[in-house]
């Protein structure tokens, strides 16, 4: 039953993405930036999905430290890995956009640097997990590290509000930005790219949770093998 739900979610996400790509292709070009501006329809949803994953990882890590229930540890590692993949997509699409608009692939401004630091911190979280053998110690250290890593997420979000950056100021969730309503709907509407990304992230997280269950089974089998 669970697999059927995941397949249905996957098919739904693919349908929404195909519909959105068709819709976005029909939009006119942005006046000053041209066609490259349309990358925003994937760049922003990837960033928001990654941030939501970080928030879920924070909640799961706190829940693990409070309850010592390994279910929360599995959720934390699953969403962190999925968020890392989406953040990587966000950084790369942003870099391609920057090459056209700024003339450089990368600028060391606060938004870009804090996002890169965020990616490195969560990559460090996954590396830390690989470095510790004992499951309880691994989960405890990883949960503490995840809480520490989340400190960077508000910095990424607020960087374009608090500092003057090469990265443009806030367009969404701000009174300064202006975006045509039909363009906003293509991102945040019920059939927007944001919804498709969230569905993909949910599927990936569920698959990763299954793999974490396999990993736990493997750990217990290894312990049995050592004990014999």
């Amino acid at each position: 039953m669970r697999n059927y739900i995941l397949y249905a979610l996957g098919a739904g996400a693919m349908f929404i993405l195909a519909r959105d790509i068709n819709l976005i292709a029909g939009f006119p070009q942005e006046a000053s930036q041209g066609a490259i501006f349309k990358i925003i329809f994937f760049h922003v949803p990837m960033a928001i999905t990654a941030m939501l994953c970080s928030f879920v990882a924070l909640c799961a890590s706190i829940a693990f430290l409070a309850t010592k229930n390994f279910k929360y540890d599995a959720i934390a590692v699953a969403v962190t890995e999925v968020g890392l993949a989406f953040l990587a997509g966000n950084l790369i699409t942003g870099s391609i956009w920057a090459r056209i608009i700024w003339g450089v692939w990368w600028a060391w401004d606060v938004r870009l640097t804090s996002a890169l630091v965020c990616w490195l911190l969560y990559a460090g979280y996954l590396m830390l997990r690989r470095a510790i053998e004992e499951p309880t110690q691994r989960a405890t250290f990883a949960a503490a590290f995840s809480i520490f890593a989340f400190i960077d997420v508000p910095i990424v979000y607020l960087s374009i509000r608090l500092f003057r950056t090469q990265h443009p100021g806030p367009v969404f969730f701000s009174s300064n930005g202006s975006f045509p309503p039909d363009w906003s709907a293509a991102i945040f509407g019920p059939l927007g790219t944001m919804m498709a990304m969230m569905m993909l992230a949910t599927i990936f997280t569920c698959v990763r949770l299954t793999q974490e269950n396999f990993q736990r089974e493997l750990d217990s089998l290894r312990r049995m093998a050592h004990a014999m």
Binding site: A35, I39, F42, M46, A85, I92, Q211, F214
Partner: protein
């Protein structure tokens, strides 16, 4: 009036300007396609990584189970 303004503007545009603008638009589209392709490649690579990891986990579990059963006998 509008027609006159357009005609005056067109008179100022040289073939070099048109060629430059076409080049800029093509470069824009090229980089947009790079961006979309990369976004998809990231997702596909991640899916492939998950599939290979699941296969490896299942193989290792099967091997360990077989080894444990053999030791029991």
């Amino acid at each position: 009036m509008n027609l006159l303004a357009h005609s005056l503007l067109l008179a100022q545009v040289s073939p070099d300007d048109v060629a430059r603008e076409i080049g800029r638009l093509q470069r824009n589209y090229q980089f947009l396609s790079y961006g979309l392709t990369v976004a998809w490649i990231v997702v596909v690579i991640y899916v492939l990584m998950m599939v290979s990891r699941e296969r490896a986990l299942k193989r290792e579990i099967a091997n360990l189970k077989a080894m444990l059963e053999e030791r029991h006998r």
